[in-house]
């Protein structure tokens, strides 16, 4: 019953969301509230769907496959949800719901919000499509949907020259990167004559002797994935682009869009070109390179954070640092196997979840303070914690989570990471994790201190105010606490997603695809 519901919702929710995006400008011109209501409807629908889908996957214990048009998969396109992209989808659905709700408050900073909401719904479609799709070319299309809405949203405050410049840099190099992914797809289709991810994993095994095409494909496609995830040499656009976007969009970009890059890297290197596959010996080399890049961007982000005075820029560098950490954990597959690998992947998933929620909260809270202060400078925000106490609390909690304090989920994710590195026999990396945490704690102290704990001398005393947004922010940061408690009490919560990237999980992924293909029949099934 649940599975059937999830199956039908999985097929229909993205076309419906796209229809909402198409309809927004039509209705939005007539009524002022309509755009927000439509976006909220789409976000609610997405949140419910992702929950149902994840529940069905988690309860059923096997991936859920939706073949579009009733075509058996390598002929048609399919959506395939296992626990890994299921949990990321769940995260995306709820965070984007919070962001859409927050946008209502942010509306006063914008003129003609109709375009903003249309692009936001487009972003939603792109995010979920990237996560759920089981077809490599469909991933290309969805990355483009995601990118074009992100470009448009970054340039949304077009009165600011910096915003337009950041968007142009982001869009120009992003277009080159996605073109390179298309080249990777050409290589893949030319050599393996299929585009389906599960089918690629299956077919690739026959090509283990000649790993060169797979290496080409992976290296071309890694460019766009690391670009989207802002990993070290490709990180240059993020500190400009994320702060210049409207605040809720900064939250979506920093919290969710970067996840897509990490997700796609994991999907390509574990599921498609994973175990005893076409990539062969090169897989270790690619993973090692990714590990080093992740290491570099973690350190770079942490150190760059120290010198920032602009709060949104500080948060952007923190994103680079944390994505680097998650990538480090995720690319441990070259050295570890079995328990240590599961531990590392669990750490990656937990870290992505913790980072997404807290970074979204932080950006949204910073939006509140920027609105109060009229500036993005940290010094101008002194003492504003007294004016918006709930937001200050939410902000502090989220910072503590990012720094890895104890009852929060961030602590457990870093602990898992530490353990995984030690188990894999790489104590250097464990040291890097500690170093990054320590350095970034220094960086986080500055905003915490200046907003929550300091006074502005000679400022008139204003009474504390509470709006609906503050409640939303507190709820989001409280969820971090709850998640931390859950993870602390039963460490197995995130192991199911991690297990779906192990060899057994990949077998399940392929088996689900084969079953669907057989059940749909036809002469070529």
């Amino acid at each position: 019953m649940l599975r059937e519901l999830a199956f039908n919702l999985l097929g229909v929710f993205l076309p419906v969301t796209a229809i909402v995006a198409f309809a927004t400008p039509l209705l939005g011109k007539a009524r002022r509230r309509a755009p927000w209501a439509l976006a909220m409807f789409a976000a609610l629908f997405v949140a419910v769907t992702t929950t149902v889908v994840y529940a069905a996957v988690a309860v059923g214990g096997r991936p859920l496959v939706y073949p579009f048009g009733g075509w058996p998969p390598p002929i048609g396109i399919m959506y395939e949800v296992d626990a890994f992209n299921g949990v990321l989808g769940l995260l995306t659905g709820w965070v984007i719901l919070a962001i859409t709700a927050y946008s209502k408050w942010y509306e006063k900073e914008m003129d003609e919000p109709v375009w903003y909401y249309t692009l936001l719904v487009g972003l939603m479609v792109g995010l979920l499509g990237c996560l759920y799709t089981g077809d490599a070319f469909n991933l290309f299309v969805m990355i483009e949907v995601l990118s074009i809405s992100a470009y448009g949203l970054v340039a949304y405050h077009k009165q600011r020259p910096e915003a337009v410049e950041a968007a142009s840099k982001y869009a120009l190099i992003g277009a080159v990167a996605t073109n390179m992914y298309f080249l990777a797809l050409v290589v893949i289709y030319g050599n393996y004559s299929t585009l389906n991810m599960a089918d690629l994993a299956l077919v690739g095994r026959a090509y283990a002797a000649s790993p060169l095409p797979a290496l080409l494909a992976v290296s071309f496609s890694l460019w766009v994935f690391t670009y989207k995830a802002a990993v070290f040499p490709n990180h240059f656009w993020l500190p400009d682009a994320h702060p210049e976007a409207p605040t809720p969009v900064s939250a979506a970009l920093s919290g969710l869009v970067v996840n897509i890059g990490v997700y796609a890297v994991a999907r390509f290197l574990y599921t498609i070109f994973g175990y005893n596959n076409a990539l062969g010996l090169y897989r270790g080399a690619v993973l090692l390179a990714l590990l080093l890049l992740g290491c570099a961007s973690a350190l770079l982000g942490a150190f760059m954070m120290l010198v920032q005075r602009d709060i949104k820029r500080l948060l952007a560098y923190s994103t680079i640092s944390h994505i680097g950490l998650a990538l480090m954990a995720g690319s441990l597959g070259f050295a570890a196997a079995g328990g240590a690998l599961v531990l590392a992947l669990t750490a990656m998933v937990a870290h992505l979840v913790s980072h997404s929620i807290s970074k979204a909260t932080l950006f949204m809270a910073s939006g509140v303070f920027i609105h109060e202060a009229g500036s993005r400078d940290l010094d101008a925000m002194r003492g504003l914690g007294r004016v918006r106490p709930l937001s200050a609390i939410a902000m502090t909690l989220s910072f503590l989570n990012l720094a890895g304090f104890i009852p929060f989920v961030g602590f457990f994710s870093k602990l898992l990471m530490y353990q995984a590195f030690l188990d894999a026999g790489l104590p250097v990396l464990a040291f890097v994790v500690i170093l990054v945490s320590a350095v970034s704690l220094l960086g986080y102290m500055k905003p915490i201190y200046s907003i929550a704990f300091s006074f502005k001398k000679g400022a008139p005393v204003t009474s504390p105010r509470v709006e609906l947004v503050d409640v939303l922010l507190v709820a989001m940061s409280a969820s971090l606490l709850v998640l931390g408690l859950v993870l602390g009490l039963s460490p197995g919560v995130f192991s199911q997603p991690a297990l779906s990237l192990t060899q057994q999980g990949v077998e399940d992924y392929i088996r689900a695809y084969l079953e669907t293909r057989k059940s749909l029949g036809g002469p070529y099934g």
Partner: protein, 261 residues
């Protein structure tokens, strides 16, 4: 002169390198055989012997674009739509001129008259390309892109005010575009909704009945092959694309009043 020399060098490099490669047996001559997947597509695109595993469209590219991989195409149009929305967002708050068109504006009267005559012909040709998309090369996007010649040429030859004066405003084009895209979206889920109502299994983007799901769009109306949803997709895409191009050109080409900043 420098350019000529470097061009000659470039061409010589290409010719010589390929001669070397061809001599060393490293050729890029394509195979005579097709991939498995391609043969599946070619065999099932119009195949009366497989009544529940075919698209019933002789044009296999359109069949792939709108049926086998219809999801890609839906989001591809979404990308184009979002790009134009982003453009509108970038152009908000800009005052655009709105004058009455005169004889002076635009190009010479000969070009104007020629454009007037050829406009309907080009639209008819474009509609033919678009509406025969499931039979001959063409389809919604191709037809729409051909039809976009008309607004471009009208804007350039007369002026963008002329279009406004004749009632082609950016607001109307946006409405038409949204309507076309909503049509595409509804077509894609129409059989799914019908299946829900009738209690029959059916899929999103379903076109012709499959073995497990008996619902099917009408694909043959009095001897005219419509290929089910393909015809509707082409129609709506034609509307959406032609109005989208018109919209983009109108907002880019209309002269602006003085900027504020």
């Amino acid at each position: 002169m420098k350019r000529v020399v470097s061009l000659a060098v470039l061409v010589t490099i290409v010719l010589g390198m390929s001669l070397l490669l061809a001599l060393s047996g490293q050729s890029f001559y394509p195979s005579e055989n097709l991939r498995w997947l391609a043969i599946v597509y070619l065999n099932t695109t119009y195949n009366p012997y497989l009544p529940d595993f075919t698209v019933r469209s002789p044009e296999s590219v359109t069949a792939i674009v709108w049926d086998y991989r219809g999801l890609d195409t839906l989001y591809e149009t979404t990308v184009f739509y979002l790009a134009i929305i982003a453009g509108l967002a970038l152009g908000r708050g800009v005052k655009r001129l709105n004058q009455k068109p005169t004889d002076e504006s635009g190009l010479s009267p000969i070009v104007k008259t020629v454009t007037k005559i050829t406009g309907p012909m080009i639209l008819a040709v474009a509609a033919s390309i678009g509406l025969h998309g499931h039979l001959t090369p063409g389809g919604g996007f191709q037809g729409g892109a051909t039809a976009a010649v008309v607004p471009v040429v009208f804007i350039v030859v007369f002026s963008s005010f002329y279009l406004l004066w004749k009632g082609v405003s950016s607001q109307r084009m946006l409405t038409l575009r949204s309507a076309g895209l909503i049509g595409i979206g509804l077509t894609s889920i129409s059989l799914f909704l019908a299946g829900l109502l009738l209690g029959l299994p059916s899929y999103v983007f379903q076109n012709i009945a499959k073995a497990g799901s008996p619902l099917s769009m009408p694909y043959d109306v009095h001897g005219a092959l419509l290929s089910g949803t393909l015809w509707w997709f082409n129609l709506f895409e034609f509307l959406a694309v032609s109005s989208g191009f018109t919209l983009a050109f109108i907002i880019l080409m209309t002269p602006e009043a003085e900027e504020k900043w």
